[in-house]
């Protein structure tokens, strides 16, 4: 059985569907009168957050608690190598405390993998976002959300059309979603100004467009990425206004979506920049469903990595 979840590349298509199925089963159970399962009782799970992210942290925390694990929140913001304790020392501290799993959010790409590979710690490592690399549980919860909205794609996303719009270059959400959604069979289009696309995008299994208006009517899922205003200062685009005009979802564009299409955003949203308030609050928006599903999917991941005895036959390659 897998020990870590560091990247979507760690998962086969079957693995990914199994996590989504498990999340679905957990949804049914936790909808009942007893919301808490005893599965991970006695296990210590550490939320090791080197970056602030209240949303992701509490999502993991409630997932772990619903499985009866003990949760320790370790906010290590500011304790980077330059300022104080190194990742290695922090990891060894957690090891000494007997952590069974470490959920790590870190500003450096690859930090989760370093933690898993280095031998500093024997716990399971779950990547909760590493720099501009990956955020695998976000992609899994997005896939779960899509699947629950489009029952026709329950056993494969072949035929599903998804556009991801915005700062792909700096987005770990985009990287994980590209890997996962294409693995599940979806057809992906990335829409962004060329400055916000990585040079290697040509090798990704996706289409690229600079014309959001042309793409919108063609898709089932429109996923918007958060655009940080600091990118403007670095001249990735001239102004917020110009970005909004070219790549923001305003009311006019919202109305050109097809009948059944949904709007997704990993949050937190910049209303008025990449998404208008009206779009964010429209019936097409599944942003809150994404948040709710986040807990289920993270429960499923913890369950599989730490407690899923029935999955032991499923050795991953």
């Amino acid at each position: 059985m897998r020990k870590h979840l560091l990247s979507i590349n760690d998962l086969s298509r079957a693995d990914a569907f199994e996590i989504l199925d498990t999340a679905g089963a957990l949804a049914k159970i936790t909808d009942g009168p007893v919301k808490k399962l005893p599965t991970l009782r006695g296990l210590s799970i550490v939320n090791l957050f080197f970056e602030d992210s209240t949303r992701t942290r509490i999502s993991f925390e409630s997932a772990a608690k619903r499985l009866s694990a003990d949760v320790i929140n370790f906010s290590a913001k500011g304790s980077s190598v330059s300022k104080g304790e190194s990742l290695k020392d922090t990891a060894q501290t957690l090891q000494a405390m007997g952590a069974d799993a470490v959920i790590i959010r870190h500003g450096a790409s690859g930090a989760a993998q370093r933690l898993a590979d280095s031998g500093w710690i024997s716990a399971s490592v779950i990547n909760a976002g590493d720099g501009t690399h990956e955020h695998p549980t976000q992609a899994l919860l997005d896939a779960y959300t899509i699947r629950s909205r489009f029952p026709q794609y329950v056993s494969g996303f072949e035929g599903l059309r998804v556009a991801i719009v915005g700062d792909v270059l700096h987005s770990r959400v985009a990287r994980s979603n590209v890997l996962l959604l294409t693995k599940l069979g979806a057809k992906l289009t990335l829409v962004a100004p060329p400055t916000l696309l990585p040079v290697g995008v040509t090798e990704w299994n996706v289409d690229v467009s600079f014309d959001l208006d042309a793409v919108i009517p063609e898709v089932d899922v429109l996923m918007l990425l958060r655009v940080q205003s600091e990118r403007m200062k670095e001249s990735f685009f001239p102004s917020e206004r110009e970005y909004s005009r070219g790549y923001g979802l305003d009311s006019r564009r919202l109305n050109t979506l097809s009948e059944s299409a949904i709007v997704m955003h990993p949050g937190p949203m910049n209303r008025g920049l990449e998404i208008s308030a009206e779009s964010a609050d429209s019936h097409r928006s599944v942003v809150l469903a994404q948040v709710a599903n986040g807990v289920l999917v993270r429960m499923a991941v913890l369950y599989q990595l730490l407690g899923g005895a029935r999955l032991t036959g499923e050795a991953s390659a």
Binding site: S80, V81, S82, S86, L87, K88, H106, G107, A108, S109, G110, A111, Q113, R114, D117, S118, D130, G131, T132, H133, E134, R172, R175, P198, V199, G200, V201, E203, W204
Partner: protein, 430 residues
């Protein structure tokens, strides 16, 4: 003291005996037996290797390397002359610091240590350092470099190129356009895009090379390009040489062998500046070295203590140690290029660097009257790199556990044996 090296094979295939007397080859012939006899039967004798790009970290970072440990590592690698880069603490931007490094090299006694002077004060890229004072010091500095940083201001670069003409100096440029490489972590390309590491694009190297060869042409000065890594850079140097511009270029062993896909697991031992590039770049570098576009191999030996590599990629230091593996890695990397044989290895790792730097007693022909700066190699064996057996104080080798060809058996510095069957002597003043 006289002694004899017997039955040594030379690169031309001949087998000879050599008598060494007072630091000089005094006789070459057959059946010579004077003084102690060191058998070199079956082994290859070459002039000692010469490195134009070595970070020795002293003064300032003696925790990662000292002149003594770095020159011991060099000796194990077959080097008899190395060139200490200026990015120490304090920076080697005054006569005082370069004389200190030079003296420490003499005291260690493993190889000749020739300091490289900084181009600008404190490597800050703003004002010229006292180039003349360093040139006229006991260290007789001829190569100047801000290596680690690029002399990015074009006017300052022009002035530096012009100024060193009075003492036939040379500016060795670390070609890296700083604005194109802000926070850069690895080669910009397919792998960096996937790994989410900010890219160091080839154009950032090539833009500076292009600018500097035109500046060198304009002012008629000597330019040396440090650690070339891109196919485009090789093309630019080829162009410059065809135009008769006085440019020379170096490539490191690691850039001849390793590619950026090694970054995949985020192990910082592969983090280096300039970064590992693609297969196509490696191919172009090998061809460039074979056809003479690239004049020399230089190690860019860059020691770092364990804590600077035992961390996440982004926080890790750039650099790899390389003195003890350089020759073997070059042999391995160039093995499939027919026109690159021992003669070319000696040319690019000893003769050419000594000529470029003006290290008169190194890289000489194996002939009567030449200085006895020599290395003897077992070319029929292989060895496995073990980081804990390196003489260098730092262990950040990217070649750990790799099986490499060729072992350095003996190294002679000015007629004194400093390495014997792979074991270092105690050094000492020479």
């Amino acid at each position: 003291m006289e002694f004899t090296i017997s039955q040594a094979r030379l690169v031309d295939g001949s087998v000879v005996d050599l008598v060494i007397n007072n630091g000089t080859i005094s006789e070459i012939g057959n059946k010579l037996r004077v003084g102690r006899v060191i058998s070199a039967e079956q082994n290859l004798l070459i002039p000692g290797l010469v490195d134009l790009h070595t970070h020795l970290r002293e003064p300032g970072r003696e925790d990662s390397e000292t002149v003594a440990t770095g020159s011991a590592a060099a000796s194990k690698g077959g080097y008899t002359a190395i060139s200490a880069m200026a990015n120490t603490f304090p920076v080697a931007d005054t006569a005082g610091v370069v004389e200190q490094v030079f003296r420490l090299g003499q005291e260690a006694g493993y190889c000749d240590v020739f300091p490289i002077g900084a181009v600008t004060q404190g490597l800050n890229g703003e004002k010229l350092a006292e180039l003349g004072a360093m040139a006229n010091s006991k260290a007789k500095v001829r190569i100047f470099s801000d290596d680690g940083k690029c002399v990015s201001d074009p006017l300052l670069m022009r002035r530096a190129l012009e100024y060193v003409k009075t003492f036939d100096g040379i500016i060795a440029q670390h070609a890296q356009e700083p604005r194109l490489t802000v926070d850069s972590q690895m080669n910009e390309g397919v792998v960096s895009s996937r790994l989410g590491l900010s890219g160091w694009p080839a154009v950032a190297e090539e833009a500076i090379i292009a600018r500097d060869i035109l500046l060198a042409e304009h002012v008629g000065s000597r330019l040396h390009i440090c650690h070339l890594t891109t196919a485009g850079g090789v093309e630019l140097v080829r162009f410059a040489k065809a135009r008769g511009i006085r440019v020379s270029a170096e490539v490191t062993p690691h850039h001849l062998l390793l590619t950026d896909d090694l970054v995949e697991n985020y192990d910082p031992v592969f983090k280096v500046n300039p970064p590992l590039r693609t297969e196509a770049d490696v191919k172009a570098l090998r061809e460039g070295l074979a056809d003479g576009t690239i004049d020399i191999v230089a190690t860019d030996h860059a020691p770092h203590p364990v804590e600077d590599k035992d961390c996440e990629w982004q926080s890790a230091a750039f650099g790899m140690v390389g003195l003890e593996t350089a020759l073997s890695v070059v042999v391995k990397a160039m093995a499939n290029i027919k026109e690159f044989r021992w003669e070319e290895i000696v040319k690019t790792m000893s003769i050419n660097p000594a000529r470029i730097a003006g290290y008169g007693r190194h890289g000489q022909e194996i002939a009567v009257g030449s200085s006895a700066n020599l290395a003897i190699l077992d070319t029929d064996t292989t060895w496995v790199v073990e980081r804990n057996r390196l003489a260098s104080k730092s262990k950040n080798t990217p070649f750990e556990s790799m099986e490499l060809p060729v072992r350095v058996l003996h190294t002679f510095l000015n007629g004194k044996q400093v390495l014997s069957n792979g074991t270092l002597s105690n050094g000492g003043s020479n």
